[in-house]
């Protein structure tokens, strides 16, 4: 039995990847939940909004790289991020002007808005593929590892290595900062409070002199920032492919709903619940088990509950369980 090595294997293959993936999902779910809370519809275009923001960031990153601008050991994409956010915010505000506002003025039912967002999704989908293509794009640069497995082994003398990729560290730190900023914004600033008031009770907010147009604009800008950051972090950690981002919609919505739609805290919790479930269900536990169990009991199989091909089934199952047993989610969002 070798608890230390088992723990390191667990950290290396389950905890750290789960933490990074969870942070990405949480940021994505925050955008979805924000739009649901304030504009009152499920925005299916969010995955492709992430793709658009990431695409702009990648293009600017390439431009920076061609100019020889770098960010030391950190990915250049972080420098390009503000440009991606600005472009995405502009796109969303434009979309709102051209599409959503019309339906808002008509006081269209949320289901109609959902379908409208589906249409917007296809358009964004097309734009992204037209500009950058459907292929995988790898844009991570800078130092690859914060700690390599080899260094860790020589440092600690353990047989099991612990590798922390730069992108994983960047993901967790950036996500932490973004979430801290968002909560400060919602709790402390007058605009944030207006948004919460609007989400609590729209009629009363209007009668308190809160300008709905401004609340809507700020919501889109924040959603654009959250989506772009989430998309870029995911792309850095894995790679960028438009179709993958479209698929991300499922775990992101699962996260938002599990946490309770409309609840920012819930979105974060939901993100981690979904991410860790996915990673834990699809991880082959053989290695950890071998360290923990005596030799005679060492497992023959991989001890993998499901192959990674089925990872989306995990979010689906959790989504269904939550909808059956806790329809308002862990943090009592608006009922779905």
């Amino acid at each position: 039995m070798d608890i230390l090595n088992a723990l390191v294997a667990f950290l290396n293959f389950v905890f750290i990847p789960g933490l990074a993936y969870g942070s990405q999902l949480a940021l994505g779910a925050l955008g979805v939940t924000l739009i649901y809370g304030i504009l009152r519809f499920s925005n299916f275009a969010h995955g492709d909004t992430m793709a658009f923001g990431t695409m702009v960031t990648i293009l600017v990153t390439w431009w920076f790289q061609s100019m020889g601008i770098g960010f030391g050991p950190l990915p250049t994409a972080l420098l390009a991020l503000p440009f991606g956010i600005a472009a995405t915010a502009a796109l969303l505000l434009l979309t709102d002007r051209a599409v959503y506002r019309f339906y808002r003025k008509q006081k269209a039912a949320p289901t109609i808005l959902v379908i409208v967002s589906l249409g917007v999704m296809f358009v964004m989908n097309g734009i992204v593929r037209l500009i950058i293509g459907v292929e995988d794009q790898n844009f991570a640069d800078g130092a690859r590892f914060l700690i390599t497995a080899g260094d860790f082994k020589t440092m600690t003398g353990l047989t099991e290595g612990l590798a922390i990729k730069t992108t994983q560290a960047v993901t967790v730190v950036t996500a932490g900062l973004t979430v801290a900023f968002l909560f400060w914004f919602l709790q402390k600033t007058r605009t944030g409070k207006s948004m919460r008031a609007f989400s609590d009770n729209e009629d009363l907010a209007l009668l308190s002199g809160i300008n709905p147009d401004r609340v809507v604009q700020v919501t889109w800008i924040l959603a654009a920032a959250m989506a772009t950051i989430a998309g870029v972090l995911y792309g850095l950690d894995k790679s960028f492919k438009p179709f993958t981002y479209f698929q991300l919609l499922l775990p992101i919505f699962a996260a938002a709903i599990v946490g309770g739609l409309g609840s920012p805290l819930g979105a974060i919790a939901g993100g981690f619940v979904i991410a860790f479930s996915e990673v834990m269900v699809t991880y082959a536990w053989k290695k950890v088990a071998t360290y923990l169990l005596p030799d005679s009991m060492a497992p023959d199989g991989l001890l993998q509950l499901m192959s990674t091909d089925y990872k989306f089934a995990v979010s689906f199952s959790i989504l269904i369980l939550v909808l059956i047993f806790m329809p308002t989610g862990l943090f009592k969002g608006k009922s779905v």
């Binding site: 914004f185 600033t189 007058r190 605009t191 409070k193 207006s194 919460r196 008031a197 609590d200 009770n201 009629d203 009363l204 907010a205 209007l206 009668l207 308190s208 002199g209 809160i210 300008n211 709905p212 401004r214 700020v218």
Partner: protein
């Protein structure tokens, strides 16, 4: 103060407000009464910008305000409360009041980040004002409670308090007394009279409690079936044939009259 001219609001074939014309005098506490379904609340909703009228006009101090959105009417000093009290449930009672004054400097993103001092000073001022209002309404002890947790009557007081956070010109109160006990109702009544006398608010009050109306309101406007039926002092209105008929129906009215004649 407010003039409503031949206002119509139709929902499909249903004429909720059907050619109502009325005037609310500056400085008055005007009562708006009528049987259920008379169109009182719909009239409020149209005046306060929640619904667009089908036709007709609303004037405020001579200016056409027909169909303006609620937050712009708020800027002009026209405020309202709801029949079923609304509140921002996730915020405290004090924060609910602090939400009200529109166009705070902290609302601009630039100021929120780069002029923290000025924003903080303004917040402190608004906070003091909120505490003052809570004192006035005798609910200071509730300041830090979540607004979703206070009682229905206290929510009504909170609604009234919201109108005191800014210099309102006219306030529309929709059944402030509904579901409120006598003592609290008196507190609300006192607050309305004081606001009317000390700060010059004009009020328009929908209420079913006739004692409450009789104590506060002059004049009283009676609505029935989307139209204005009668207008005058409480006593005039009470003895108006058409009003009694609207409330009781023809049969009952005759019966009451007969009994009066025999008795």
């Amino acid at each position: 103060m407010i003039v409503v001219e031949n206002l119509h609001k139709h929902f499909g074939g249903f004429h909720a407000v059907d050619g109502a014309s009325l005037e609310i005098r500056k400085g008055s506490i005007t009562g708006l009464i009528g049987p259920n379904g008379a169109g009182k609340t719909t009239l409020f909703n149209v005046i306060a910008g929640r619904y667009q009228p089908t036709s007709g006009r609303v004037l405020m101090a001579g200016e056409d305000i027909t169909g303006l959105p609620p937050h712009e009417l708020f800027g002009k000093g026209l405020l309202r409360t709801f029949q079923i009290a609304h509140e921002f449930g996730s915020m405290t009672v004090r924060e609910n009041l602090m939400m009200v004054p529109a166009l705070q400097s902290g609302e601009r993103l630039w100021n929120a980040w780069f002029r923290r001092g000025a924003v903080a000073a303004e917040e402190a001022r608004i906070r003091d004002k909120a505490d003052e209002v809570l004192e006035f309404l005798t609910i200071s002890h509730l300041a830090d409670q979540k607004a979703s947790q206070i009682s229905g009557g206290q929510k009504k007081l909170l609604e009234l308090g919201r109108t005191m956070m800014v210099d309102a010109k006219i306030v529309f109160l929709d059944e402030v007394g509904a579901g409120v006990n006598r003592t609290l109702l008196n507190t609300i009544g006192d607050a309305i009279v004081r606001l009317n006398q000390e700060r010059g608010y004009t009020f328009c009050v929908i209420e079913h409690d006739m004692d409450f109306i009789a104590r506060l309101c002059d004049p009283v406007i009676v609505m029935a079936e989307g139209k204005v039926l009668a207008q005058g002092t409480v006593d005039e209105v009470k003895n108006d044939e058409r009003v009694i008929e609207a409330y009781l129906g023809t049969g009952l009215k005759n019966k009451v009259k007969e009994e009066a004649a025999h008795g």
